[in-house]
Symmetry: C2
DNA sequence: GGTGATACTGAAACCGGTTTCATGACGTCA
DNA sequence: TGACGTCATGAAACCGGTTTCAGTATCACC
């Protein structure tokens, strides 16, 4: 390794990181041990020496070597975050929330991408474990439950946006059945009875749950389920376009569409436009997520808002508490209907 | 530190990370040194022993301790990425590109957020330096040139989406003057002469450059610059709304709008809709970035596509080469006009 | 003055790798 | 047979912290 010349620099420039605890010790005329004690406040140190050490650290611009620290203490002060690059803004926002929640806790995030593939996901988790992260945040994902159960005994783990049996305390998700129910309910309350559904990825739990909520609301209102009104999409805007085209080709009437998420809604909205169908005058449209662009669709999109950012910050806070063995509280974060202008009252 | 019981586990579950090089050495009946040599391939090892070591590693499920590795070798195998959480999808996409470009290089990314504030940014860079990252990718940012010059002598650094004098080799950006020129030119070619401009954040270099391109195209076409057609926005959708409201309140006529980015275009499009102004029949609209939602605006948005993802991957590749002292090539990545349906030919 | 508790400190071991250095075995050549 | 280069290997130093352990100094109390 080539060493950079030692030079003391003042000001706000990059800090010279070659200063070791030994240098501090010499300058302060104490031993390494004492310097360590001052830094970590692990035992009493005479005030004179403490000041000398502090002063030396100040003038020399000491930054501890994290490897040495990690090796000696077994702590890395980093948190591993596993995202699933589904391209959906929802997961990005959750991740943003985690970053924010971690800020000023002293822990740094490391991101890896599971790509919604079980094998990839397990591999990246192992990479993270190899890097000795102090905790894990899994956002979504497909690793089977029994492996996660094993995992959480090894490392503090919080799972976001996925429901796991037996993880009540370490699991942050919204009730997608309830949310799907609410969305459908909103349409029904506005007088709609022929409600089309554009589903998300086939075996995706969220998509399934929202579908269940849809069915529940229908049943409660005494509306018969019609499979002709359901289109199997994949959470992409393109699938929204295809859905509308397909739905219109079938000759089943519908006055409203419940889209799997906002991207799908955007696609559906465009397709409706192409067919000369007005929103909401001819067909109402409701989305899911409330991503930033939803409020600026024409017309602004009524959607179920997922508290993605808050879920992220909550996960971060919970994880820190878990690491420190403090009691953790998982806040109740329900999806909330965000009423805008894409749903009309049916007369 | 509490140690987890050593247990050898087969299969795809979490790997036991308590196995050390010493354990391998004992099982393979060789010394630590030899194990290290096999792992890093740093010198010749007799084939018999090599196999024994490999076999031991396999059955014991060895994963090296990164701290020990880092401490001893001075390498961390991590890359620090500084993003600016401007909320713009552009920066997120660049970051995604960097992640992807780093995949399978052995380097892991660590993200930090500079929040477009010089002090914050310098602080997070120092955190990264403290973590001994092997390289840095700065996406955007405001740290002054002289500090960056100092920085790059200390650590391999690549800057994305920001133009830096003297950094020709380590700097990936598009020519925003040219891009602004192209966008404006497109409108002019379609017959527009009264072209409104919604600017981005006031002192943001990209915004300034795009403005310059706008002026250049105007001048070239012999169109007089009219400050009444310029609105000072901030890259947000909301500023697009305000811009249109303000522009309409002034009694200056315009037939087209060049928006600072797609979010602004979305806002502008909604505001035009509110005023009963059709796009593109009454007013044409051109955006910048080509974020995912642009293709699904109604009508689909014509926009200058920034190769954000490609910039990210290029940055990753360049950085790896920089670290390994290999020649690095910065690809030429121009913005490209993405013609869709929001610009009409003026008759 | 002796005893014991308490405050404070430095030497040294340790964390788990990498790298240097010394050495032994072996083959080649004069 | 002796000198020398090459291959292969283990012992030990080292990276820069944390933590244990042994000890000294000081003070209170009997």
């Amino acid at each position: 390794m080539i060493k950079v010349n030692k030079k003391s620099q003042a000001g706000s420039g990059p800090v010279n990181s070659q200063i070791t605890i030994q240098d501090i010790a010499e300058r302060a005329k104490v031993s390494k041990s004492t310097v360590s004690r001052v830094i970590n406040n692990t035992s009493l140190v005479h005030e004179d020496k403490r000041q000398a050490v502090l002063e030396a650290m100040q003038t020399l611009g000491f930054q501890p070597n994290v490897f040495a620290q990690g090796l000696a203490s077994g702590q890395s002060m980093t948190i591993g975050i596993v995202t699933q690059n589904i391209g959906s803004p929802f997961y990005d926002t959750v991740a943003q929330g985690v970053i924010t929640g971690l800020a000023s806790t002293g822990y740094s995030p490391i991101f890896v991408d599971g790509q919604w593939q079980q094998s990839t996901e397990m591999a990246v988790i192992n990479t993270l474990l190899g890097r000795k992260v102090d905790g894990l945040v899994l956002i979504g994902g497909k690793v089977p439950l029994h492996q996660l159960n094993e995992l959480r005994e090894q490392t503090p783990t919080i799972v976001v946006a996925r429901e796991l049996a037996g993880w009540e305390n370490q699991c942050i998700f919204i009730d997608n059945v309830e949310a799907g129910y609410q969305a459908t309910r909103h349409l029904i309350e506005r007088g709609h009875r022929d409600i089309a559904l554009i589903r998300g990825i086939k075996d995706h739990a969220d998509a399934i749950h929202r579908f269940e909520g849809y069915c529940k609301a229908l049943e409660e209102a005494g509306i018969e389920f019609d499979s002709d009104l359901v289109y199997q999409g994949d959470f992409s805007a393109q699938s929204g376009v295809l859905a509308v085209n397909s739905l219109l080709a079938r000759s089943t009437h519908f006055s409203a569409i419940f889209a799997a998420n906002d991207m799908v809604a955007f696609g559906a909205r465009l397709a409706l436009h192409r067919h000369g169908i007005r929103v909401p005058e001819d067909v109402s449209l409701i989305g899911f997520d409330d991503q930033a662009e939803a409020a600026f669709m024409t017309p602004p999109l009524t959607t179920m808002r997922q508290p993605a950012f808050e879920m992220g910050t909550a996960a971060a806070k919970a994880l820190i508490n878990l690491i420190k063995d403090k009691p953790l509280e998982i806040p109740n974060l329900p999806a909330k209907l965000q009423v805008r202008e894409s749903v009309a009252r049916l007369r």
